[in-house]
Symmetry: D2
Subunit: 411 residues, 4 copies
């Protein structure tokens, strides 16, 4: 009962085989092409075609319909696959299972009009374009969406969009065609009903890419974090996604699966790091002992195993709840996995760096970048502190305190 | 799939109802009787009869046979029950599911001769006597059993037992009749084959109780930690438990389920502590804010929820593995839960103490004693460090390192 | 410059010699007498006379005047002495340097009228009576003094005192004659001016000792934590200590040195624990290695050394600031040492317990009780969280932010 | 007594003024020039001239002689200066107080022949060239110097040098002229007498720069971490530094002050990070509260203040000991500050990143790079684990255990 269901294991095995035979051996080639400036490295493109042909495609979309390309998996079923994909930063793209396209597709599945689906969802499902989600703004504390200042004003049959965003992942990617922008349409409405989502063509006049933000000095062309401005961008009114004023609640909906996928991928990467710690610590010696004989190394590896297994179980349970009781009820679970996994991810990467010594800070191993990605993860998808606040509130609501007095005594 | 099987939930519900209706409301009565010096408080005795009559008895023994009293549950099924029982330190005794009698009964089920079963197992199953397990010695570092010095020498049809033991839980309890003692029968054999187990009547001549050890200043008559000496204790040779020289491996076997049960009970107790944190933090205010509005309190509660849920899942998985692949294969899992749960238990108790302020250090709430019990748990059933060493070794053995090179680069 | 001044070292050496020659060897005798029920063990009384005769007396009172008995030391000078005294829980009493009498004497030195000094300060200085300070109340969150509910009402030439207090250390001690009680005299005044201090004879009618509170199951007759009630206790108006309504600020004043002394004593105790860790880890072996060869043990000892030295330096600096700039300016420092030392104390004690294994949870070593005392220290003298809040506020006030912009860049 | 001596404070103030008036305002200019590819940014060069002219030069060399340029400060005196310089990564260079030139100059002061001093020390003191120290090798675990494989073979009047090194900081810098290389001259000697130091001209034939290593994806031309190979490099025998076979002990000597300086600079940088946390948390709000009102933020700032002050005191004490009792006796202290400061540095940077949110992972603030620099610091100058081992050993040697038995009891 703590194994994934049989179907999920079968697909996981299939993906694992594809990954091991085709993706992993291509890694050094991919790294080379990426550092040569290919935003979509040819080796990745070739593997994409292959994966798509095999139907190993769009596996992260539980709402996939019969006539859409790919394989429909439940959230739980996807966890096993996601873990495999997480082993390499670029593997998810091979299977069209990467952020932010997946959560954007899910938004479109849930809220897009027929016309919008045709225009945006279809090419995304086919992998013919990329997309971005632009909510965070440099000028306000964006972990509270009520602070957002980007404004969307109606002007006849158009909305006029003005504002500055940053960390809109992949908005500046050469493949990106769609930016889903969050802006204020109704400044006088109650806080949670002020915002709306607008489908903004990446190349619309007034959309200006300012810079590709470094994340701990890492900037890549394959995975960008973009600062951009909207200056009087005119968008036809039928490009509003979902209800006017519903931006906040739609945004929330988007976050459930997005967080889940980030967590599962991180777990896959952590498995790689544990293997590397074991391997490296067996390969070198100091002061007459193999590194793996030192208590510190043993604790590093053992605690990583314990914590990672705990995270996987928690995430799988959350996935199962998303499947069965839905996003809203599983909200506490989603916050819980977000906090738990980000911490463990950072700790495991920290240990891997240490066991490698100086090599651990270079890019010769995945440890250094994992360490920084993990650090960023404690901020994106909501800073730790905000989730802890949320969990406490929901926990209090869940508690039945009617019997606690029996546990207490005193004068 | 992250719920216990239906049967297990049904029984858990039944036990929970009994607990809530009968056991919990009797808690203050029990505390009073215990502090009045009753080693077996009358209120507990009465509830025992009632539970036994209902068949809520011996639920922690997966090897229970048809003709033995009680309800056979698998390890996994028992987890849910154990969690309920863990809420009060004395609840397990009501259902004859308490340590060290349960692991001792399991040993007897596995290794006792027909005669030994009749003499010792039967009354234990009926709850007519108590037992103890005496391995640890004050004079040697006993986390390495190879250090043990108690000796068992053959003298015709008898073994002569000499040595000093301590922390033989409940050996000094007025109800105890049997002490399973670990001693060296074969000093020249290879390290792991030197020891044997002997079934020693508590009141045999030469068995002397030295003292009831305080555990962080807590001494009770209901749950004792006994220091004792064996001086020329004569035991008939047919009272050897299992093979001569097999003491080490038998002892190991004993520890799997014992650790599991300790972990599950601790989780139950932690649930109580979380409830108490929620309750208390809603009840008081400082500097114009309710305690539960402070970030520190929220973090305390949220992290406790996250960590506890992670522990429960890990423990349930370990239980499932004990049921399916057995003690030996699940060894890494057992070490993992031991380390994980003891830490979380200590952390949650630490937070509960803090949220209570000065009240938290008194005995008016269960927090103080939980804090100390948790602290002891990081030592008994094997110190953290020893388990971390074991896990690292088993983890390395589990790893397939054939693909790691693909993740590395460098000149 | 990181050594104490020469005079301080000379006195520290003198105290150390007395301690090593007379106090420490008497420890087992003292423990025996204390557990036999002597609130003032004869061996302690004899040593007190001896120390007093040598002038090693009242060393914790920087305001000691020429005609008062004892040796005036500055706060800084006392740090070295306090550390020696901290090695044994009862050593401070030998030199009349123990809490709560010291901070109470200091209060009296600062605020008492001539008559009050004669009546209370003099016998305290001579060590002829004990005292207590009763602020905390069980029914309100007392880390915010504004919550206190005990009331002091004027009735002609008397105040009538009503309320319930707890954790008034040593109020129930057989030697105690004076309870300094905090109560509300002016409920309508601004929050910080509502309270006053009243000098209450321990045996005044209406003063009722309810219980001697266990602190993690430790209750002793030598050092008590008392719950008590005041029921219509009549106290002449000239027994108000300091100004009416000044209770809050006087109470604050009391806390500076009190916290300092607790910190220094804790450091002394931690030194003992480090020695014990070293000693024990050299004395036993597991799995073919001496315990001190394990990385975990080495880290335990090394981190303890690092953290403890850091604490000592911080505390000595705070003492120096108390001497030079005073209580108010040094407020941030006092909060800082409180937080720092309590944590390190708990961590070091935790490590010592672990290295001892099962012995560590008994009372055969000082580790178990130190662990619990440390845990309590995170609550008394103000819970961690409250100090962290205070420090942050004072830190912000201390900051000159005029140049920070130079460190920032961005679009 | 916890202030630096007056002379030290006066010079610190002078440096601080220069820093605030000239260096800090030039920061954005410097950053621009550095990212435009200037290994020695013109703005830095101009400030260097100015500082040198004022005599604010070579302040980190306690052995500076009368006729050498600059200002001789003791280690303790330099701590205050170093902290100011640490605020900006490039500020130390302005005053010729940067690594690795400072420890290399110290080595030359201690061990160079007259001729070597003329050739290498003089231009370094004048700031006319740079230098590097090449010990670490990619192919062996270099935290144990006994593992080193680079070999130095005698061939008549020459040594022939062969080997691969990495992380030889600034060996590849355009200004570097001298590489001090560690290699094995006497493979058959006892472990600690096998190695010697060789003064290798950077541009000698056979010295090949392989790559500029990224440190967490940060590569700069101003501060490089170089991988290089030595292939049959021929060096005259009079270029051996110190005794043949003394490489190990000389290398140890070098590390004392080097570690001290790294620690002091890190403390300076942490002060900047604290200021930034305070500033940022006052500037933004979420959910109706300013960020600095949240308990998590307050704890972040307060703990940073506590830990940083503790580190500063410990480091200053270590500096004082280096000055008074010397490198060898102060060895434990040096290991202690290394471990303590690296951890606190990482923690403070971690908190600063978090408080900035997404901005914290960019290069718009110093937090992200500080976080990574701190992480690397837990490895260079010796990994944490190795220092913890050393400290434990020295601590045990320092302990007088003759009285510990008095603290113990038991049967
Ligand atoms: C790698 C990466 C990728 C990202 N991708 C995207 C993307 O594709 N699209 C997008 O729109 N955004 C993206 N983001 C932005 C991310 O969603 C935001 O950074 C996040 O929501 C926090 O907002 P903020 O950065 O404005 O931080 P702020 O809101 O300014 O918060 C800063 C800090 O304040 C503190 N704080 C805030 N609230 C509280 C509280 N209640 N209690 C205690 N402390 C608090 C926390 O320490 C927090 O970290 C990405 C970020 C990163 C790093
Ligand atoms: C509440 C309680 C109940 C108990 N009940 C029983 C019982 O019923 N029957 C029974 O026989 N025993 C019982 N014990 C004893 C328990 O099993 C032992 O305490 C435990 O096995 C450790 O042995 P030790 O105390 O001799 O510690 P030691 O073996 O002396 O170890 C002490 C410490 O040394 C260090 N250490 C040891 N080995 C290593 C290593 N490989 N790496 C790093 N560090 C190491 C650890 O810090 C360890 O904590 C109980 C103990 C307690 C506290
Ligand atoms: C061993 C011992 C000796 C003592 N001796 C004395 C004595 O001699 N005289 C005397 O008067 N008192 C004494 N005390 C009592 C002590 O001073 C109080 O316990 C302390 O002031 C806290 O008050 P409280 O217990 O009412 O906790 P509460 O005020 O109820 O606080 C409980 C918890 O709430 C949380 N909390 C409160 N405020 C905040 C905040 N601002 N931010 C975040 N969290 C918060 C903290 O977790 C805190 O621990 C002693 C206590 C102990 C344990
Ligand atoms: C930014 C930076 C600058 C540097 N500058 C220089 C320079 O200028 N010149 C130079 O020569 N070198 C330099 N170094 C290299 C540095 O000195 C080495 O990285 C360091 O000595 C460790 O050696 P290693 O990398 O070979 O690690 P290894 O020796 O392989 O150790 C790797 C890991 O093994 C574990 N380990 C090793 N021994 C033990 C033990 N006894 N107990 C427990 N665990 C252990 C630790 O986790 C350790 O981190 C620099 C490094 C960095 C990151």
């Amino acid at each position: 009962m703590f194994e994934l269901p049989e179907k999920a294991r079968a697909i996981q095995a299939e993906v694992e085989q594809f990954f091991t035979e085709h993706v992993l051996p291509a890694n050094s080639q991919w790294q080379k092409e990426a550092s040569d400036g290919f935003a979509r490295p040819p080796v990745e493109m070739a593997l994409r075609d292959r994966a798509k042909a095999l139907g190993l495609w769009n596996m992260a979309l539980p709402r996939l319909t019969e006539d859409e390309p790919g394989m429909r998996l439940s959230n739980l079923e996807f966890t096993g696959v996601a873990e495999v994909l997480g082993r390499l930063e670029w593997a998810s793209r091979v299977f069209n299972c990467h952020a932010p396209d997946v959560p954007n597709m899910e938004l479109l599945q849930l809220f897009a009009t027929e016309k919008q689906r045709e225009q945006w969802l279809k090419p995304l499902l086919e992998g013919e374009m990329g997309s971005a989600f632009a909510m965070t703004e440099p000028d306000v504390a964006s972990s509270d969406p009520a602070n957002l200042e980007t404004c969307i004003e109606r002007d006849g049959e158009y909305f006029i969009l003005n504002g500055r965003k940053w960390f809109a992942s992949n908005a500046g990617h050469e493949h990106c065609e769609l930016i889903i922008a969050v802006g204020v349409t109704d400044p006088e409405a109650p806080k949670s009903q002020r915002q709306s989502l607008l489908l903004v063509p990446r190349h619309a006049p007034g959309v200006d890419i300012i810079r590709n933000l470094p994340v701990f000095d890492h900037t890549s062309v394959t995975n960008m974090h973009t600062e951009l401005t909207f200056t009087d961008v005119r968008i036809p009114v039928d490009q509003l996604l979902g209800e006017r004023g519903a931006g906040f609640s739609i945004g929330q909906a988007r976050l459930g699966p997005a967080r889940l996928h980030h967590c599962m991928r991180a777990i896959g990467e952590c498995e790689v790091l544990i293997s590397l710690m074991v391997e490296r610590s067996q390969a070198r010696s100091t002061f007459g002992k193999r590194i793996d004989e030192y208590g510190a190394t043993q604790a590093a590896i053992s605690l990583s195993r314990i914590e990672l297994d705990q995270c996987r179980l928690l995430v799988q349970r959350a996935a199962h709840l998303l499947d069965t009781v839905g996003n809203k009820v599983a909200r506490k679970q989603i916050s819980m996995i977000k906090v738990a996994v980000a911490r463990v991810y950072q700790d495991i990467a920290d240990r891997a760096v240490q066991i490698y010594g100086a090599k651990g800070v270079t890019s010769d191993t995945p440890a250094a970048r994992a360490f920084n990605r993990a650090r960023a993860f404690r901020i994106y998808d909501g800073p730790d502190e905000v989730h802890l606040q949320t969990i406490a509130r929901l926990e209090a609501a869940d508690q039945d305190l009617s019997h606690v007095a029996y546990y207490l005594s005193g004068e």
